[in-house]
């Protein structure tokens, strides 16, 4: 109730603490370690634990976060809240500006659902393939320039800007992420033509 009275007549806003970069910490950690989730909070939730106890826990947590706040602000998922088709129309024209996310659809032959992934969060092919394998629960063999993914039951392919279907790994990573429109995990038998560069 004290806080209520304080706000009602308060014309001079008290200085509020700077909180730049705080939420970015969580996401920063998330992007660094996508596999391991270990962000357990110390807050213990019980039925009677309301009010001041919780508040101090929260401010303690935030103080910890303040210490570890990163210098650079990474772009956050879904922020600003602009739908992706609106973003893509303009950022493709301004190629100097780094895009905030590059979502592509991923389908797998035989799987009933599509997934969507953000290519920007992967640093290279090994990370991407690892994530795909985990997502769709399949394995692929080693990639070689001459033989593609020979011996794999499934083969990752993608459609590029020209509408051509290519084998994932054929072009340098930077070129791949700027030209990939969508991914398709094909059955190995169907992908033989691609591997031979036909």
């Amino acid at each position: 109730m004290e806080t209520v009275a304080k706000y009602e007549g308060d014309l001079n806003l008290k200085a509020t603490e700077l909180r730049l970069g705080l939420p970015g910490v969580e996401d920063f950690e998330k992007q660094k370690t996508p596999i391991v989730r270990n962000n357990k909070r110390a807050l213990v939730e019980t039925g009677d634990d309301c009010g001041s106890n919780n508040n101090s826990d929260i401010s303690d947590a935030r103080d910890r976060d303040l210490e570890t706040a990163p210098a650079a602000k990474k772009q956050v998922v879904g922020w600003p809240p602009v739908r992706s088709y609106r973003k893509n129309s303009f950022q493709s024209k301004k190629t100097e500006v780094e895009t905030s996310g590059m979502y592509v659809k991923v389908s797998m032959d035989g799987a009933p659902y599509l997934r969507k992934i953000d290519l920007k969060i992967y640093k290279g092919y090994p990370e991407l393939l690892k994530a795909l394998m985990a997502m769709f629960k399949f394995t692929i063999g080693q990639y070689s320039e001459s033989e593609g993914y020979n011996g794999s039951e499934y083969v990752p392919t993608y459609e590029d800007k020209d509408g051509d279907w290519m084998l994932v790994g054929d072009v340098p990573w930077e070129m791949f992420i700027s030209s990939c429109k969508r991914l398709r995990i094909m059955k190995g038998s169907e992908a033989k033509g691609l591997a031979l560069g036909l």
Binding site: T3, L20, L43, V82, R115, A134
Partner: protein, 625 residues
């Protein structure tokens, strides 16, 4: 888009459907023998009364009034259920299709909404749910007169379209907003089977490009019933000949919105074929590289002049600014103009907007700068809805709009009812000015893209600005806040935002008290979506009394734990509590059982009331507590 009918259809301006009602627990059968309306020769006087009631209730169209009528007594409940023809279901998981079919018997039109709105920003994993299949399968047999379906954020498959077309070949209107899961094959099926279709509208949908030429599936001869064909969101090439033939044979066609793959020359030909159009989406509004030869044969200005009934103009997806002046002949009649894909500056906008005296709805990019907004304010005194989107949607972008543009709008457009404004610098003073100049505001959504940005002139939090909005705009129903905000802003919302139904909060607030202010202060609150705020269990508890009155609550990246959410679920059994986990790069079968780890942080909480308890189609990254 800026089509008032669509806006009304999806505005939740009425009390929620009380599907529980008074009769849900009763299996009592009606005393009369059948549901025949107007049968005045029954022996039972009660039945006469019921028949009279049904005849009267037919005229009741507002769902709010119908909900009230259904609560009067059991016989009113039954009569209302038999005569309700327009069904609105704001959350597809609030009620099962079976329960709906049991209660309502003669549904002719359906509005069904699925995923929470934050799904639009990739916060909801793709396979979360909101499947249309169970609905189409049960309703198509139960409601033979079902002629109109509007779906928002639902997952629809091509098979669903096939089922729909097969069961309801006389289907008339299909409106899909933000839907996905289907491809062009689904549309082809509709074109094939529903020969009486009048309205086919796809708005902001994601349609799989399975390379089917769906337009060719419309009947090739004879006139069609088409009144509205909207497909501007489809990112696939279009068979122009098929479309042109269709347009020629559709004399009733009033609304046509082309996609960005259609060149200005194709647009020109279609405009010449359909001078009766009232709504036009211009597609790319630039030439196809291969078609430069035809340039001299096109008198675009004259084509626009011939569209004497045009009131709503959109498209301009790849516009070359040189073509812009050709739309000038229609400007004076326009009530709705969507430039939100046109990367134009103030100098390019001014010669157009100065003619748009009747404009009520205007969507634009911030590339027009404050100067462009000032030009809008100078002419469009009748403006009701304004949306300013960012050309560069990044939180560190140097957006060229600021408080100057906002103040100008507030001074020139005093009848403003709805605003969605993206920017990266704003002041409290400007927001306060708008609150005073535009008292009719119903929707105020300000998105300062930089997280935690204060008033850029004073350095203060944006509390006072938003406080003024809730205080002065007495009709406010929908609010989205941004910028640096302390608990004080939420105090104001709880204190003054008594009519607020929808509230969106991101990166704001200091403590749980903020959430408490809102949950305890806003009795009309229906939809609350929160992300990245320091709110936890204490705040959540403060809303226990209200959750069953809400459509949903979304909280992501806050300070909730599994244990806390579980406690809420225990105390409110009529509310479904979903904990959603991100499954990036993880094998979903390896996810630990969430209930075993009470201390674990909840990434995403989605909570909604439901008459039918937990859904059976939850994927394994969703845990229902």
């Amino acid at each position: 888009m800026g089509d008032e009918n669509q806006a009304e259809m999806f505005e939740d301006d009425e009390k929620p459907l009380d599907l529980g009602g008074s009769g849900s627990s009763s299996n009592k059968t009606r005393s009369s023998s059948s549901g025949v309306v107007g049968d005045c020769f029954a022996q039972n006087p009660d039945q006469v009364l019921e028949n009279v009631l049904e005849n009267v209730l037919i005229f009741l169209t507002s769902r709010r009034d119908r909900n009230s009528a259904s609560l009067v007594c059991k016989s009113w409940y039954i009569a209302e259920a038999l005569t309700r023809s327009d069904l609105f279901i704001g959350n597809c998981y609030a009620v099962s299709p079976q329960r709906v079919i049991q209660r309502f018997r003669k549904v002719q039109s359906l509005v069904l909404k699925g995923k929470p709105r934050f799904a639009d920003f990739n916060l909801v994993p793709v396979n979360w749910g909101a499947l249309f299949s169970p609905w189409v399968n049960s309703m198509s047999s139960a409601y033979p007169c079902l002629g109109k379906i509007c779906l928002k954020r639902m997952w629809i498959t091509d098979e669903d379209f096939a089922s729909l077309g097969k069961a309801l070949p006389r289907f008339k209107e299909l409106v899909l907003v933000c839907c996905e899961g289907f491809g062009l094959a689904g549309l082809a099926t509709i074109a094939d089977t529903c020969r009486q279709i009048r309205v086919l509208e796809l708005i902001e949908c994601e349609v799989d490009d399975d390379e089917i030429d769906w337009l060719s599936h419309f009947p090739e001869t004879g006139t069609t019933c088409l009144e509205s064909l909207i497909f501007d969101c489809i990112d696939s090439p279009i068979n122009f000949e098929a479309l042109e033939s269709l347009v020629i044979r559709s004399p009733m066609l009033k609304k046509l919105r082309l996609n960005g793959r259609m060149s200005i020359h194709e647009l020109y030909k279609l405009m010449r074929r359909a001078p009766q159009l009232t709504h036009l989406g211009t597609g790319a509004f630039s030439p196809d590289e291969a078609a430069l030869v035809e340039e001299q044969e096109m008198d675009l200005r004259s084509a626009f002049t011939s569209l004497k009934y045009l009131t709503c103009l959109s498209g301009f997806k790849e516009m070359l600014p040189g073509y812009l002046p050709s739309i000038q002949p229609v400007c004076a009649n326009l009530t709705s103009l969507n430039f939100s894909y046109a990367d134009i500056n103030a100098e390019q906008l001014k010669p157009i907007i100065c003619h748009c005296h009747k404009l009520q709805i205007f969507w634009v990019l911030d590339s027009v700068c404050d100067e462009g907004l000032q030009a809008v304010a100078a002419t469009c005194s009748d403006l009701r809805e304004l949306r300013v989107f960012p050309a560069i949607a990044r939180e560190d972008s140097d957006s060229p709009v600021s408080e100057v543009g906002l103040v100008a709008i507030s001074e020139g457009c005093k009848k403003l009812r709805s605003i969605l404004h993206f920017c990266n610098k704003m002041t409290n003073a400007a927001v306060v000015a708008m609150s005073k100049n535009c008292p009719d505001l119903v929707v105020f959504r300000l998105c300062i893209m930089g997280r935690h940005l204060p008033d850029h002139l004073t350095g203060e939090p944006m509390d006072m600005g938003f406080g003024a909005i809730v205080m002065n705009c007495k009709k406010l129903r929908r609010l989205a806040v941004s910028g640096l905000l302390t608990d004080k802003a939420f105090y104001y919302i709880g204190q003054y935002g008594k009519l607020v139904r929808t509230l969106s909060v991101a990166f704001a607030g200091d403590t749980d008290v903020a959430l408490t202010y809102v949950l305890q202060g806003c009795p009309e609150l229906q939809k609350l979506e929160i992300r990245d705020c320091p709110f936890g269990y204490a705040g959540l508890l403060s809303g226990l009394h209200h959750f069953h009155n809400m459509r949903f609550l979304w909280m992501s990246s806050c300070r909730l734990t599994v244990g806390g959410c579980k406690e809420v679920a225990r105390r409110r059994p009529q509310v479904v509590v979903e904990v959603i986990r991100d499954v990036y790069g993880q094998q979903t079968c390896e996810l630990p059982k969430i209930e075993e780890d009470l201390g674990q942080t909840v990434e995403k909480l989605y909570m909604y009331r439901s008459l039918d308890g937990r859904r059976s189609d939850a994927p394994n990254f969703v845990t229902i507590l």
